[in-house]
């Protein structure tokens, strides 16, 4: 018994490459076949046509779908709007997450830390739809919670539309920004802050020269989540977007009767995210994750 185990272990020990292949083949197969495979299928579909009547695929090559997307001003506006929403959401998440995570990681006492993390995580347990519908009630013009809250200040609820979508998505994705940034702050060595102040740096200078460079990778990690999640969302736009559409809505509207066109539209966010990742990689933030 013991001898067989020993030889067995010996075989894997003597063939590290085989061992690595054995360990990685299953997850790699999943990544390549299921994940990249479906992306490739999506991309190829974008060059096909549909039967006018049944809406079923006709596998003949055409560039019409991309042409239609890039020559219709309405779709270009939607691309710009979606991009704007994703950027605003990311920015807002960052503005809220930075002080909050700093407080959680460096100021709050050890007793409070787990509680604060739990509070940040709790909304993730609730259903996405419930949260969005809650925001629908909050944002309701005239009689909503927000209108009631800021009405006495002479302000009006933003109602359903661009701002509504940005607020709701910021609420939805905030935990995905807070968690990595919080982790970044906890990894920040206290000695560096001390050294900075020993060398005579005031608060702002420490923030700019020590804290920001140190947590930049965490911010980038968080922004990848908030940015790409916002870019692909369509249900929020449906519920609190009034009549505004995002790219996802166009896909959702057309994928039944014109799958290739929907595929062409879906490649846009994929390309945008890839460009974003490339930009991030160039900045060197990915290596520090």
């Amino acid at each position: 018994m013991t001898t067989t185990t020993a030889t067995h272990r010996g075989f894997w020990y003597r063939h590290p490459n085989l061992r690595l292949a054995g360990l990685l083949s299953a997850p790699m197969a999943w990544l390549v076949v299921v994940y990249l495979g479906s992306l490739a299928a999506l991309f190829i579909t974008a060059f096909w046509q549909v039967d006018d009547f049944t809406g079923q695929l006709v596998r003949t090559f055409t560039l019409e779908n991309f042409q239609l997307v890039f020559t219709t001003p309405a779709y270009l506006t939607t691309v710009a709007r979606t991009l704007g929403i994703a950027l605003m959401v990311t920015l807002l998440c960052l503005v809220i997450a930075l002080p909050l995570s700093f407080f959680m990681a460096r100021v709050a006492s050890r007793r409070w830390q787990p509680l604060l993390i739990a509070m940040v995580l709790t909304p993730l347990w609730a259903s996405y739809l419930v949260k969005v519908y809650a925001w629908r009630a909050m944002l309701q013009p005239e009689s909503g919670v927000l209108a009631w809250l800021i009405g006495p200040l002479g302000l009006e609820s933003p109602g359903y539309g661009f701002i509504g979508i940005v607020i709701t998505l910021t609420y939805l994705w905030l935990p995905y920004m807070i968690l990595p940034v919080y982790a970044g702050f906890t990894r920040l060595p206290g000695s560096m802050l001390d050294a900075s102040s020993d060398l005579g740096a005031k608060g702002w200078r420490t923030l700019r020269s020590v804290i920001v460079p140190m947590i930049f990778p965490s911010v980038v990690a968080g922004s990848i989540f908030t940015f790409s999640l916002s870019l692909g969302d369509y249900i929020t736009a449906q519920i609190v977007g009034g009549k505004l559409q995002m790219l996802g809505n166009v896909v959702q509207q057309t994928y039944v009767s014109n799958l290739p066109f929907a595929a062409a539209v879906s490649t846009i966010p994929v390309v945008i995210v890839l460009l974003y990742l490339a930009a991030v990689r160039r900045s060197g933030a990915l290596e520090n994750l």
Partner: protein, 399 residues
């Protein structure tokens, strides 16, 4: 063991022989129509024991098992009687239904006229064998064998009910009763900013119906058969409407909430939305507008690749039977399809209110249909705009 196997072989041989005989017999009489009929042959029957489950794709409010309202339940009895466990999935638009059906996994669908032909020609449905559905005989004859639920003389399902898409308003916001779509389409509408419209390409037909009344010079005969000029006029009208719209809806719960809260003052709606909104205490009125309306005529159809054919037929018979048809259509707020249902509704005036047998009422209600390049109204001198172009036009309008 051995005998069982022999029996199976014998049964298979018999089945093959029967199919062969069936083909031979029909070749001289109706081969043309059955050869054209997509989806293969109808189930020969007889309807045997249930398979244990039936997966139903339905409009909201069509398959109620008591989970929406404990008093509203026409599923539980069916389950105990037949042993067919009902799994229901609802959809908000016909496009969604088509996509879900094409994905497979559903045995029965309640399809509207703008989905049926796409599903039939897409090979997703099988023809219906009316002999296996006793209630089929009692369905109003102007609902059977229509262009949207039959092909070449072969029926593809059992009609369920019909209704008109209504003009609905919140009486807090709209204080004087209205009867015209003008308040939703015309630029001078006093309700600008709180108009709603149905978020689906098929809504282009609603604009066409309004144009039929207001711009007769366009010569629109059928709102689903629009040539390029007529189609462009409908799109222009929708572009004029767009600034008036506060929200478009496709999710009926959102429509209920929007009407009840007053976020939406006026717009297109379904009777079931009016009923549920009123049940929640909303101040809602609805009417069939004077210009006429789009509407629906829904049909229960069976998937081509169903694994639960017996349960599927049992369900279709159950939902078409006078008792269930009466409860279901009364709950939804539409005209029943079964003539005998009218005697069984809780509100004895239900059939009169919803004009079940009133042929004249339905003359200016245009049932959802699938627009095709070959004009549905029979014109051959022009090409009509096919549905795929309706979809791109709608998504461009909405973007």
């Amino acid at each position: 063991m051995h005998t069982q196997r022999l029996l199976k072989i014998a049964a298979a041989t018999a089945a093959v022989a029967m199919v062969a005989a069936g083909c031979g017999g029909s070749s001289d009489s109706s081969s043309a129509s059955s050869a054209e009929a997509p989806g293969g042959a109808a189930y020969a029957g007889p309807v045997g024991d249930g398979e244990g489950t039936v997966n139903i794709l339905a409009w909201p409010g069509y398959v109620e098992d008591g989970s929406t309202d404990p008093a509203v339940d026409w599923v539980t009895d069916f389950e105990t009687e037949t042993g067919c466990q009902v799994n229901v999935k609802t959809f908000g638009t016909s496009d969604e239904a088509v996509k879900l059906m094409q994905g497979g996994g559903y045995d029965v669908v309640s399809a509207s006229g703008d989905a049926t032909l796409r599903l039939i020609y897409g090979g997703n449905l099988q023809p219906l064998n009316p002999d296996l559905v006793p209630s089929y005989a009692d369905i109003f004859s102007d609902l059977k064998m229509q262009s949207h639920n039959s092909v070449g003389g072969v029926p593809y399902g059992v009609p369920h009910g019909r209704g008109a898409n209504l003009l609905m308003w919140n009486t807090d916001k709209v204080t004087t009763p209205i009867d015209s779509w003008a308040s939703t389409f015309e630029a001078d509408s006093p309700y600008a900013g709180s108009v709603t419209a149905y978020d689906s390409p098929i809504f282009i037909a609603d604009a066409a119906v309004y144009l039929m009344a207001t711009k007769p010079e366009l010569g629109i005969k059928d709102p689903y058969a629009l040539d390029k000029t007529q189609f462009d006029a409908a799109i222009a009208l929708l572009e004029q409407q767009e600034p008036l719209v506060g929200e478009y809806w496709s999710d009926y719960t959102k429509a209920i909430q929007a009407f009840n809260s007053g976020t939406t003052a006026v717009g297109t709606s379904w009777q079931v939305i009016a009923n549920l909104a009123k049940a929640e205490g909303g101040k809602i009125e609805s009417v069939k507008a004077k210009e006429g309306a789009t509407g629906w005529s829904d049909t229960w159809m069976i998937a081509k690749d169903t694994k639960n054919i017996n349960c599927a037929y049992k369900w279709v018979e159950h939902i078409a039977s006078p008792e269930t048809n009466a409860v279901a259509t009364e709950y939804f707020g539409e005209a029943p399809s079964n003539e005998k249902s009218c005697a069984l509704t809780a509100d004895k005036d239900h059939c009169a209110t919803f004009h079940a047998g009133d042929t004249a009422y339905w003359e200016d209600v245009y049932y959802w249909n699938t627009p095709t390049a070959a004009c549905l109204d029979g014109r051959t001198d022009v090409q009509c705009v096919p549905y795929s172009d309706w979809v791109t036009a709608w998504s461009a309008l909405r973007s």
